[in-house]
């Protein structure tokens, strides 16, 4: 059987910018982004705005508390209401 190696398509500069905020980016890509941002002010602003977009969503979509009645309804549906803490 032929030993096939999966070839990774290199990321385009735009992909690097858009994905640059991924927590699992490798070092090489991060360096590439830094170079890109240095030579292109628009890219810098763009990168910064994507970062702000995500941060805004994180703040607005923060974890909400569940109402007690909602919990009761859930336990009722599951027939577990006797075990309400």
């Amino acid at each position: 059987m032929k030993n096939e190696k999966t070839e990774k398509k290199p990321l385009t500069p735009f992909e690097k910018l858009c994905l640059g905020l991924s927590q699992d980016m490798d070092e090489e890509i991060c360096k590439g982004i830094a170079v890109e941002l240095e030579k292109c002010p628009d890219c810098h602003f763009f990168y910064n705005s994507v970062e702000k977009t995500i941060e805004m969503y994180r703040q607005v979509d923060n974890e909400k508390d569940m109402e007690e009645e909602m919990e009761l309804r859930l336990l009722n549906v599951l027939n577990l209401e006797d075990f309400k803490e």
Partner: protein, 195 residues
């Protein structure tokens, strides 16, 4: 972790108290994920209830090969995606294209204003953010929520949604770009800029 595995085993053996403890441990996480996906409290509650009904029914199939919350998340996402498909049947969704680097060069972009608590609390602004996510087709919305809001890694996301790594990255990139462009219009118009 050991405590959780013991709890799951008891729940799998029909211990109702253990089942209730599992539900109470994860209800908030499941509800919040459902709320992020559905963008509606009542729909999120439906998803949460269906998730736990399914989870308890299928609990015997959980083999501990993934973390329990990942298993629950997968059920939550499947139910949410199904509901979104039903809800959006026949309605047109935005189509997201691949942006390219040329679209940034020469645009003379400027720094976005610093956002603060006042902006985040602004109802109109919150609605703007919410509407943009509602416009995102479910396949993009799910990746954005899992990666950027729930903080899952690419690998966790791809396993949870049965996608390839490159699918996750492309969808995340398109979703971020779409949401960013939506906000750009408003910042350009100065609607939410601090005076």
């Amino acid at each position: 972790m050991k405590d959780e595995l013991e709890l799951i085993e008891k729940a799998q053996n029909g211990d109702r108290k253990a089942q209730a403890q599992l539900v109470l441990r994860y209800e908030k996480k499941v509800f919040n994920l459902a709320l992020r996906m559905m963008r509606d409290k009542e729909d999120a509650e439906d998803v949460m209830q269906e998730t736990f009904l399914t989870a308890l029914r299928k609990l015997h199939t959980f083999e501990g090969r993934s973390q329990f919350f990942t298993w629950l998340y997968r059920i939550t996402m499947n139910i949410s995606l199904q509901k979104l498909r039903d809800r959006n049947k026949g309605s047109a969704m935005v189509s997201l294209s691949d942006p390219d680097i040329e679209s940034i060069h020469g645009q003379h972009l400027s720094e976005w204003p610093a956002f603060n608590q006042k902006l985040i609390s602004n109802e109109e602004f919150r609605k703007l953010l919410d509407n943009a996510v509602k416009e995102l087709p479910a396949i993009y919305r799910s990746v954005f929520i899992l990666r950027d809001l729930e903080g899952l890694s690419t690998i966790e996301t791809q396993k949870l949604l049965d996608l390839t790594e490159s699918n996750v990255k492309v969808r995340l990139m398109r979703a971020r770009y779409y949401l960013r462009q939506n906000l750009q219009k408003y910042f350009q118009e100065g609607q939410f800029n601090e005076k």
